[in-house]
């Protein structure tokens, strides 16, 4: 089954002409047809993927099909953001990241489910139904990029695209036992991505291995004249960080003593010993309490959402505002409230000041440490239905990721434990200073190769 291969493996097989593009596309479409009804991963499947790919077989990515979160505008392919407001919206243009990837030779396999407008951490707010976690279908895949995480975990894709505003790549990656890389804010263009919280939205890769993430990011990143917040900085070849020794690197272990996380942290602490064997140093260190970041993010995100979702008037495209689901209504209206006269200072401006305190805290920590490591999520994937009546579900689940998100830092989640009874995973979150994706890739790759928690690396070692 070619669908089970990693991006790096498939590229190699195509280059050596051991497989054909048609075989690859056929296998992937077969995997989607077999599993999609149960898991609800894809909202739209691109049946023309093989024909489109054939025209790009000479470019770097050789026509390989990628699963795309349904909040990236894709020319000629329906883009819903998992909301019925955009039920019939067919974009007349590609988002920059999609255009970059097509130029590099990628094709689109299909569009994956998410929490409606990316509001949530479960896919349960999708107006097209929840996605199930392929590792254990009684559980949620996480979110908002839950469909993309599930597509990769279920081998219904070779690799996928997600977007993260505060946890939306890394948390579902952790819950589904895959790799999720959130680049530095401004590294990948937001142009053509359905806007959520513009000051933190970051497109990024969701893949089977760290190496695959580095490779995909190479073809996603770069300055874009259509997104004024992308930085005009050079994009390194991120795959250069693969296989690089981490000897002498200084790792700070953060959020190690948070109440309620004892069991998960015990597993992580054990895994951190691996880094010492690889020649790095690991020290427990205190970072600013992440509970305040929940508040900063909640206020900033609701405010930016109320503004960004103002454009959906059902006139130029889409349905009218009565189609918004309960979660979107809550967020738009809370943002409207906290930005309104008399409250904006109390909430929004205060939140932006506390945001500065997190940035200062990180700057200080990075004077001593090359990377900071914590759990990705407080625990394992929650059971289906867990979000019922929980207005703050996502924020609490994403608590450990929000400080780095509001600070714009790059981070990666890699699997670091699997519970043998439930088959559910814990993720390790590795964070570095702005523009240092190479360092998180280097550390994550070294760890992934030294351990057996990565499903695809383990299969590779077993000679499968």
């Amino acid at each position: 089954m070619l669908a089970k291969k990693t991006l790096t493996q498939v590229l190699d097989l195509l280059e050596k002409k051991e497989i054909t593009l048609e075989e690859l596309h056929k296998d992937l479409h077969a995997a989607v047809a077999e599993k999609n009804e149960t898991l609800n991963v894809y909202l739209t499947v691109n049946t023309a993927s093989a024909e489109e790919a054939a025209q790009r077989s000479e470019a770097a990515l050789r026509g390989i099909p990628i699963a795309v979160k349904d909040n990236y505008c894709t020319k000629g392919i329906r883009t819903t953001a998992s909301s019925t407001v955009l039920d019939t919206f067919v974009p007349p243009y590609d988002s920059t990241v999609i255009a970059n990837l097509k130029k590099a030779g990628a094709s689109i396999l299909g569009k994956t489910n998410l929490d409606a407008w990316a509001h949530g951490s479960s896919t349960e707010t999708s107006q097209y139904g929840r996605t199930l976690n392929p590792r254990n279908t009684n559980h949620l895949p996480g979110g908002s990029s839950g469909g993309s995480a599930a597509a990769v975990a279920a081998d219904m894709a070779i690799a996928a695209l997600g977007t993260e505003t505060a946890g939306s790549i890394r948390q579902p990656a952790a819950w589904c036992g895959i790799v999720g890389l959130k680049p530095t804010y401004g590294r990948c263009s937001r142009y053509g991505v359905v806007a959520m919280a513009s000051s933190t939205d970051s497109p990024g890769p969701m893949t089977k291995t760290v190496e695959d993430a580095a490779l995909l990011l190479n073809h996603m990143a770069g300055h874009d004249k259509y997104d004024g917040t992308t930085a005009d900085v050079s994009v390194p070849d991120f795959t250069q960080a693969i296989g690089k020794s981490i000897k002498g690197l200084k790792i700070g272990y953060v959020y190690h003593s948070i109440e309620g996380l004892e069991e998960s942290n015990a597993h992580l602490a054990k895994e951190l010993e691996v880094f010492k064997k690889l020649g790095a140093t690991v020290e427990k260190v205190e970072a600013m309490d992440p509970h305040y970041a929940i508040s900063v993010y909640t206020v900033v995100q609701r405010g930016e959402v109320s503004s960004n979702l103002g454009r959906y008037d059902g006139i130029r495209y889409g349905n009218d505002r009565s189609f918004f689901g309960a979660e979107a209504k809550r967020r738009i209206m809370l943002g409207t409230y906290t930005l309104s006269k008399g409250y904006s200072d109390q909430y929004y401006n205060t939140a932006q000041k506390v945001r500065s305190l997190y940035i200062q805290d990180y700057n200080k920590l990075f004077e001593t440490y090359d990377v900071l490591i914590s759990l990705t999520s407080p625990g394992y994937a929650k059971k289906i239905g867990a979000t019922e009546g929980e207005a703050m579900f996502g924020e609490l689940e994403d608590m450990l990721l929000e400080p780095s998100s509001i600070s714009g830092l790059p981070g990666i989640s890699v699997p670091c434990y699997r519970d043998p009874e439930t088959n559910l995973f814990l993720g390790m979150n590795i964070v570095a200073p702005m523009w240092k994706e190479e360092t998180v890739i280097q550390v994550a790759d070294a760890y992934e190769k030294a351990t057996n928690w990565n499903t695809w690396r383990a299969a590779e070692k077993a000679g499968e």
Binding site: V90, P92, G186, T229, A231, I294, R316, K353, S356, G408
Partner: protein, 100 residues
């Protein structure tokens, strides 16, 4: 801590132009209370000596040449393709004045 009333919810709903039922108003008022209770901890942080961060990259005033970008032009047909109601090549918008 202030209590959010259904009347306040209605006012916010009007500002956000979102239709809400009486049932939703009750749920929304409760969700607001819960959320505002969580974010209350911001008030306990000393922010007197710190400037707000609105954007993390530090970029300012990004401008471009004011020239027509033919790469990103849509035909009239493309531009209208997703509109619910069109008339002779235009988008039809709902009347917002003189509604009575």
């Amino acid at each position: 801590m202030s209590t959010i009333t259904p009347a306040q919810v209605q006012h916010i709903a009007n500002l956000a132009s979102i239709p809400v039922s009486d049932e939703e108003k009750k749920d929304l008022a409760q969700a607001f209370e819960e959320t505002l209770a969580v974010v209350q901890n911001l008030q306990s942080v000393d922010t007197s000596h710190v400037e707000p961060t609105h954007q993390v990259t530090g970029l300012e005033n990004i401008l471009r040449e004011d020239v027509v970008d033919t790469d990103h032009m849509l035909t009239q047909e493309q531009a209208l393709a997703n509109a619910k109601q069109t008339h002779e090549g235009f988008v039809v918008v709902p009347r917002i004045i003189d509604q009575d």
